[in-house]
Symmetry: C2
Subunit: 275 residues, 2 copies
């Protein structure tokens, strides 16, 4: 792998560039993004040069799509005539079914492998990028031929940057992240919106718990519009299960059931921290 | 103020002892607790000696009740015959109406002032105590004569340990913390319990968001049983408002309403961080 095109040089794309370099990648990294984002990535040392999509992709052995989901879908419809046949296209989109099916319908001249690094932070942009963002974090790959030369090379670099590869079907991925990622986001947004509307003075007695509970509520709607619109059904299912559980707690505030729910919840929370 | 009795030397009681000493308190601090908890507080340097409730309270100018709520209620029923008339009794319980009314009914020979430091951490016990636990955190006091000598002295020490005093009626306090503290706890417990029950494999794709969202779920039921049973109505009201908001989000995942809720939530979350 001599040449990489990172398309979308925000937090994830730029962190991937920094991580590759920190892991010893000595080839060339092209950045394809808006002028401002590409310049920030260049300043951060995450890319070696700024290029147009066409120029970057024509030379790249790896094409890493780290745009918002709707932009990834748009890019996938343009890439096929531009790629080298031995290249690998992969993406870092937060939902997988729509992206994988769009790739299947549009990419014929080289391999596509869906991906989703379970990494991130509150702040966005290349200036916040970190070479260690993926370290010890799950990195989902959707099924495909993982033994092609291009796929083996990519997997090798993921291991070098410290990611823990997990292979999951796009459908299964989208169902699992509806609970692990999309539900926590909407729960935090709902929490902050509820208190803002019904009891804003509660802010004056806020402890660290409310700060934690409203951290995800700081997230940008721009990112979430795409996630919600490409994963609506699993999210409805997760919200429904959560609302049912909250109803159950409300009905059982003074019964033994509350004890049982606290125990089940604490057990899961501890397991999560041991993984 | 020459002598303080800390009744209940867990995280909060021991942190209060450490904070007093760090702020220059040179008098004697008695610790009243179970043998194990009192020894841990002594080892942590949070108290100067271990005493029985009777011996500590007979000598104390300030009696600081930092037990679980049900134990505070029990202690309040025993204290009156033991106290010095110039002493001040205060507490650190997480709900205030039940405690204040129990104090009003039982404490006649000295002043009582309800309190609630909005401070805490995941781990419990004297070994986790910190002199800075109250620094820059709201410290609620319930209304009463704040100008008595005992109350002025206590307020002075709260300021020296860095707490931000907020005076709130017990009823108003309990209503506000139902949203700022009890709702986040139950939302986190419900989140972890839902995922454990419906989609436990989501743990394998968990990012930092789920870790944040399930932190409070690690809390001990023992503490929360007392909180929930002494603040049931405001908690039911807060849960109901939260469930309605989640319902609203679920119905509007693909409408402009979702944008508006994200905006309102992010605005509140940012305000909270500026306070």
């Amino acid at each position: 792998m001599n040449s990489v095109a990172i398309v979308g040089t925000g937090l994830i794309g730029s962190s991937f560039g920094l991580a590759l370099k920190a892991a010893g990648f000595a080839g060339h990294i092209y950045g394809v993004s808006s002028q401002a984002a590409a310049e920030a990535a260049l300043a951060a040392g995450a890319i070696d040069s700024i290029a147009s999509l066409e120029n970057a992709v024509r030379q790249a052995d790896l094409i890493y799509l780290a745009q918002p989901i709707s932009r990834i879908l748009h890019t996938l419809r343009q890439l096929d005539p531009l790629v080298q046949p031995h290249a690998l296209i992969t993406d870092a989109g937060s939902t997988k079914q729509t992206i994988v099916s769009t790739a299947q319908a549009n990419i014929h001249r080289c391999q596509f492998l869906g991906g989703h690094p379970m990494a991130g932070k509150e702040s966005r942009g290349a200036a916040e990028a970190e070479a260690d963002l993926f370290r010890n974090r799950p990195y989902i790959l959707t099924p495909g031929n993982l033994e092609t030369e291009a796929a083996q090379t990519f997997r090798g670099w993921l291991e070098k940057i410290g990611a823990r590869i997990v292979v999951l079907g796009a459908d299964e991925h989208d169902h699992l992240v509806a609970y692990s990622s999309h539900l926590p986001q909407l729960a935090s947004t709902a929490m902050a919106a509820t208190i803002a509307e019904v009891s804003p003075d509660s802010a004056q007695v806020a402890g660290p718990g409310l700060t934690d509970a409203t951290r995800l509520a700081l997230s940008s709607y721009d990112l979430w519009r795409d996630i919600v619109s490409t994963n609506t059904e699993p999210i409805v299912e997760a919200l429904t299960a959560y609302i049912q559980k909250l109803d159950h707690l409300r009905e059982n505030l003074r019964t033994r059931q509350l004890h049982d729910e606290f125990t089940a919840a604490a057990t899961f929370a501890r397991q999560l921290r041991r993984l």
